[in-house]
């Protein structure tokens, strides 16, 4: 117990002093997760809306595959990306293994189905009504898309936040493709996993507290946005 309390005290002083290594890990985490989620959102939102308002052959199969991908284990995604970009893989020539780019790619693959699925479900309920209304008021296709995004913004925001939550909390994918290299590809989750096994609880607790604070901020933002809307 005393070790834990001491660990907390040291962790708080690391945070308060803006420890260099801590800041590096946190800033890289934020960079990777925000970029990955941002790119995923750009891909997912129109795709989720399209799935919600359009009928096409094999749609039910596509939706089932989407739901499956929403709960894909991160290590499977990491393994897939690793096999693609490993030296002997089809994309080995790009030299992406153990880079930040590889981590972003892996997280995009992880997060895109989540945002797409949540936006799709949100669109199902009223997407067609909005689309039909927009059409009967004379909206063009781009105007319809903008209208749908505006009217479904709560659902879209919830999808993006959920996707971000997944990105910031996963370990497996970024560990496999990033390698957890100090000062280069080490993010909060991979650092915590490594530090625990090394017995360095101060830094692990410090990172854990920052991660917890970020999760709280994310959920607070989502709640606040929903209340305002």
């Amino acid at each position: 117990m005393e070790q834990i309390i001491d660990g907390f005290k040291s962790a708080l002083s690391l945070i308060a002093s803006f420890d260099g290594e801590l800041m590096n890990i946190v800033s890289l985490t934020l960079f990777v997760t925000i970029v990955a989620t941002g790119i995923s959102a750009v891909l997912s939102v129109p795709l989720g809306i399209f799935l919600g308002i359009k009928d096409f052959p094999l749609k039910s199969l596509v939706v089932r595959v989407l739901y499956t991908f929403m709960s894909l284990p991160p290590v499977i995604v990491g393994l897939f990306v690793f096999l693609m970009i490993a030296r002997r893989g089809p994309l080995g020539g790009l030299g992406l293994l153990f880079t930040v780019t590889a981590m972003i790619i892996a997280q995009i693959l992880l997060v895109t189905p989540i945002i797409t699925g949540i936006v799709y479900n949100g669109t199902l309920e009223k997407g067609r009504d909005i689309k039909n209304l927009g059409k009967t008021l004379g909206a063009t296709r781009p105007q319809l898309l903008f209208l749908l995004i505006r009217e479904l913004r709560i659902e879209i925001f919830a999808g993006i936040i959920s996707g971000y939550g997944r990105a910031i909390s996963e370990v497996g994918a970024v560990m496999i493709v990033g390698g957890n290299i100090k000062g280069h590809t080490r993010v909060m989750t991979t650092a915590i996993a490594m530090l625990r096994s090394m017995g360095d609880y101060e830094m692990a607790i410090a990172l854990g507290l920052v991660l917890l604070a970020l999760s709280f901020i994310i959920n607070f933002a989502l709640y606040h946005f929903q209340q305002k809307a």
Partner: protein
């Protein structure tokens, strides 16, 4: 806007929802569509509105077909039975069709304000659309449909479940709009008295087919077809 309908057929799971072989609607017509539940009345207006494209046959609007990019969409509108209002204010809801047409702010203000006054909605101007009652929502939906002065106005039971006072206000505004602009109006209604008050012509649709059409007084008071007669008798109870 003139409409020409040829061999219009809509089926759902092999069941015929609508089957109209030939129909011509003059520009400026003011038509009430009556008929029992499930007759195909709403299907009819949705097909004309272009939001249901799963039909065979043809519908010509001023001699032209409707395509996805057609500007005919900008000259017609449909008021739904259950109106969907945007999350924005009542003012912005009504202004929406003008904004997407690139209308100037000053003109938007004038046109929207007039409709707010005519429909008794001035006090609700800044209220979010989602917070309105059923009657208020339907008035906003009517204002939103009229603000850009469509040539073809389709209404699917616009006054269903609305209080009598709101119905009066909406009918007056609709009547004034018609007198001023002479659009083609096709209105689905369960209210025979409303059809009598507003419409110049009535279509009776049953089991997906146009059974009888004619001037309102003639169809409602001296229907030729037995089915029309039976329906009107029941509807008057």
């Amino acid at each position: 806007m003139e409409l020409q309908i040829q061999s219009l057929k809509r089926t759902y799971d092999e069941k015929i929802a609508l089957d109209i072989s030939k129909l011509h609607i003059d520009s400026g017509a003011l038509i009430g569509i009556i008929g029992p539940n499930g007759a195909g009345k709403s299907t009819f207006v949705k097909l004309i509105a272009g939001i249901d494209t799963g039909f065979t046959g043809s519908i010509l609007y001023n001699q032209k077909r409707l395509t996805e990019s057609s500007d005919t969409y900008k000259r017609m509108t449909l008021i739904f039975q259950k109106p969907y209002l945007f999350r924005t204010s009542v003012f912005d809801n009504i202004a929406y069709p003008l904004k997407i047409r690139g209308e100037k702010e000053a003109i938007i203000e004038v046109k929207v304000k007039k409709l707010l006054v005519d429909l008794g909605l001035e006090k609700l101007r800044d209220q979010p659309g989602k917070t309105l009652s059923g009657g208020e929502s339907q008035k906003v939906a009517l204002a939103r449909a009229l603000v850009f002065e469509p040539e073809l106005l389709l209404l699917d039971e616009p006054t269903a479940n609305i209080d009598p006072q709101s119905i009066m206000v909406m009918e007056r505004v609709l009547g004034d709009f018609y007198e001023k602009n002479r659009p083609t109006v096709i209105m689905v209604t369960h209210n025979i008295q409303q059809a009598k008050r507003l419409c110049r012509e009535v279509f009776f649709i049953d089991e997906g087919r146009l059974i009888e059409r004619g001037p309102t007084a003639k169809v409602l008071e001296h229907p030729k077809e037995v089915r029309t007669k039976n329906f009107i008798q029941w509807a008057m109870i």
